[in-house]
């Protein structure tokens, strides 16, 4: 058991930290803490420039294989990068969907031509992507997608509606799970298409969330076009490709997020000490419980990291999403209890929230997106515990 980072890893950490400090004290000095959940409307153009700066410095695609234009950094290094990124309060990413979801999918399952066509602009921070999965009638039951695509000559024509599509209003491209052969069984006849967003056949409508802000969008496809070869994997094999993408969603970025969780918890501790809420033993118990939960979250992450680079994540990693999302939601509730009556007063009319109010309200989404808690439990039951399939 060896739970310290090596000197080489620490040197890498120092390199990341120095670069971030230099940028965020210099050219991008106004971007600390900007963007991210609840703040996606902030500094949109400046953050787009930031994406290019990240790309130019080689920080995008850190974990991709060298053949795909990445640095082939092991998971541990990727986590170090995420930790330092969060610690520096570097701006919320716009390019993460392309970098962490689409790129690994194309690197694993795309054609050489697709890899050459799509990976370099993502690595340069020039092309932003969104994920066209959920539909009004297909949320947890993703195989129920009804958006269809038809090959007309050498062009796919896509028709249908996606929803809860993060960053659709910013994205240049969308990977779309859609039905390409009618009458097939649910998981069959689906294809994974790469569709340019800037075209007449696509309409994007932001959704105002309970936070008052808009991170998610509805995307309407009305005969939207994309070339015949912009399909990842075989036509009709899209379910397998879509599931591969989801498996990347449990990757490195979630392992480093405890740094930002810790900053939130620090703010709560700070508030409790100042307003005297910590004189209440029940509040003390709950803050301590949150802190304990965060430490254990970190050790869970170290354990996954310490599993080494042996391909697939270990079985215990299956619980990660359920754990952190549940913990974070409870943290938001605790924040409101600590603030007492003041919890109710927002930062400014009409609906500007304080950071802790953002934690409270946004964390309600944590247990829904990227596989709801109920779906997570189904996955654990099937894959970790080997329980039999339920009635469907």
């Amino acid at each position: 058991m060896q739970l310290r980072f090596s000197a080489e890893d620490e040197a890498f950490r120092a390199e990341v930290r120095a670069w971030l400090e230099r940028q965020l004290d210099g050219e991008f000095r106004d971007l600390r803490g900007r963007g991210g959940p609840g703040r996606e409307h902030e500094a949109v153009d400046e953050r787009r420039a930031w994406e290019r700066a990240l790309g130019a410095a080689g920080w995008i695609g850190l974990g991709w294989p060298a053949a795909a234009g990445g640095r082939g950094a092991p998971l541990l290094r990727q986590v170090i990068f995420h930790e330092e990124y969060a610690r520096a309060r570097a701006p919320g990413r716009q390019g993460h969907i392309g970098e962490y979801l689409l790129a690994p999918t194309i690197a694993a399952l795309g054609t050489p031509a697709q890899q050459q066509r799509f990976l370099p602009p993502i690595a340069r921070g020039e092309q932003l992507w969104c994920q066209g999965y959920s539909e009004p009638g297909a949320g947890s039951d993703l195989a129920g997608v009804a958006t269809r695509a038809e090959l007309v000559g050498h062009t796919w024509r896509v028709t249908g509606q996606k929803i809860w599509t993060s960053h659709a209003h910013l994205a240049d491209w969308c990977f779309v799970l859609c039905r390409t052969s009618a009458g097939a069984r649910r998981h069959e006849g689906l294809s994974y298409l790469l569709v340019p967003m800037r075209q007449d056949g696509i309409t994007v409508r932001p959704i105002r969330q309970l936070t008052g802000t808009s991170e998610f969008c509805e995307v309407f496809f009305d005969g939207a076009r994309t070339p015949a070869d912009h399909v990842v994997g075989a036509v009709g094999d899209g379910w397998k490709v879509a599931m591969a993408t989801l498996s990347f969603e449990r990757g490195a970025s979630t392992l480093g997020q405890q740094i930002s969780f810790a900053a939130e918890l620090d703010a709560i501790i700070h508030a409790a000490r100042h307003n005297g809420a910590d004189r209440d033993p029940q509040i003390r118990q709950r803050i301590a419980d949150a802190w304990i939960g965060l430490r254990v979250m970190r050790w869970n992450a170290l354990r996954v990291l310490g599993h080494g680079e042996r391909g697939e994540l270990p079985r215990e990693a299956l619980g990660g999403k359920l754990y952190w999302s549940t913990w974070h939601r409870r943290l938001g509730e605790l924040a409101m209890e600590v603030l007492g009556g003041e919890a109710e007063i927002i930062a400014a009319a009409p609906y500007a929230l304080t950071p802790l109010q953002e934690t409270f309200l946004f964390s309600r989404a944590d247990t829904i997106y990227a596989g709801s808690s109920e779906i997570q439990k189904n996955i654990i039951a099937a894959r970790a515990l080997g329980l039999p399939r339920g009635p469907t």
Partner: protein, 406 residues
């Protein structure tokens, strides 16, 4: 970065498991329960002497194996899995830890070799009426007596294996002291004049607890272990809590396994109950808790061996709080998953449930450990208005790398 065990550590664990399973697993615990003496002496001899577990964490220079808390965590997990009725937690996890933390080099040389050989068992007599783990609750006194002696007087309760241990380590305070001041631990042969002890009848019949009455027991003043006071004892207790946490992980895993296995074979409505989401989701939550408890116990074991004292103590408090809650929850839910059969004496579920309940209070409740954590975070103390230096998670800000990862 490597969180796993070495091949040697895995082999040790496999050896422990082979011996425990060879003894019949939980059936061995049931036999000991029925016999009423609280110990499986045959099993203990195998583990302590043949495998050398008695000296696991004792340095080689004192006749032990020279291993540490990482190895001990693996052993405790196995003991917890089968509810083994052996004085390992008492002798190794608590008493040896106390001697190592508090005793001088000479005292260690005098006491530890016999413990390492498995010839002598020992128990830490610390708690008193009510079982309050706060040091202020210790009322047993150590009064100076003529001839370089000390008279120990008081009543100890909840002494793990205290009815049978050969050696008692008694926590007592100097007359007129209070709080954590004036506390020390004394080495007392169990047969000394004035020691009266008996096993307490307990709801969890798999772990023996004793009451030990000390009626002016006369021991040499030199039997006081070192002069580290309460901090040394607290350090030993932190080690003991790591040991207990690992035992709780082993028990919790067994509860989950029992529930999963049963859910696969028990049919209702024409299908295995494990195919219903109500059962699946319950067991999925247990899975997350068991794995998280394991991370906590393993980390705390690593910290005990390799991290700073503060990190190790903090990790022990976290593991104690988390694993105490997780084990109880898993044991309770496995009864629920089993339905009626889980409510019977015949089924093993209640043995784990009762062990989990008892373990929650043995070395401080989860609430006690959370309060300890709160204190470390600077909560509940007067706010002087100065923010700098206020303790925090240590993860979110600041120049240093995260504690525990640094």
């Amino acid at each position: 970065m490597r969180f796993g065990f070495t091949e040697e550590q895995d082999e040790l664990r496999r050896s422990v498991r082979r011996i425990l399973d060879g003894a019949g697993g939980v059936a061995a615990a049931r036999r000991t329960m029925a016999a009423g003496d609280g110990h499986d002496t045959v099993l203990w001899r195998q583990l302590a002497r043949e495998l050398g577990l008695a000296g696991l964490v004792i340095p080689e220079r004192h006749g032990g194996a020279g291993l540490g808390w990482v190895e001990l965590v693996g052993v405790m997990e196995e003991l917890g899995r089968t509810l083994a009725c052996v004085p390992f937690l008492s002798t190794v996890g608590l008493a040896t830890a106390t001697i190592l933390a508090a005793g001088t080099e000479e005292q260690q040389q005098a006491i530890l070799p016999a413990l390492a050989r498995g010839e002598v068992t020992a128990a830490l007599a610390w708690l008193e009426i009510g079982g309050d783990p706060d040091p202020a609750a210790v009322t047993t006194t150590a009064r100076p007596a003529p001839g370089g002696h000390v008279l120990l007087a008081g009543k100890k309760r909840f002494v793990v294996d205290g009815h049978s241990a050969d050696l008692l380590l008694v926590v007592a305070r100097a007359p007129g002291t209070s709080g954590a001041d004036g506390l020390a631990v004394y080495e007392v042969p169990a047969g000394a004049d004035g020691v009266r002890r008996h096993r307490l009848p307990t709801m969890d019949a798999t772990r023996a607890l004793a009451e030990v009455v000390l009626a002016d027991v006369r021991v040499p003043a030199a039997s006081r272990l070192g002069d580290g006071g309460w901090p040394a004892i607290a350090r030993a207790l932190a080690r003991g809590r790591v040991a207990l946490a690992a035992e709780q992980v082993g028990g919790a895993q067994r509860c989950l396994d029992l529930g999963v296995d049963y859910a696969k074979v028990r049919h209702q409505f024409g299908r295995p109950i494990g195919s219903f989401q109500a059962i699946q989701h319950t067991l999925a939550e247990l899975f997350v808790q068991v794995e998280s408890a394991r991370s906590a116990a393993y980390y705390a074991g690593w910290a005990a061996a390799h991290a700073t004292a503060d990190e190790a103590d903090e990790a022990a408090a976290v593991a104690a709080a988390y694993c105490g809650d997780a084990y109880f929850h898993c044991a309770a839910e496995t009864i629920q998953v089993h339905g009626g059969i889980g409510f019977t004496w015949e089924h093993d579920a209640h043995l784990y449930f009762k062990r989990a309940r008892a373990s929650r209070t043995l070395l401080g409740t989860p609430a006690f450990h959370r309060e300890d954590v709160a204190r470390r975070l600077g909560l509940g103390v007067a706010d002087d208005g100065a923010d700098d230096g206020a303790p925090s998670t240590g993860l979110g800000t600041g120049p240093a790398t995260a504690p525990g990862v640094a």
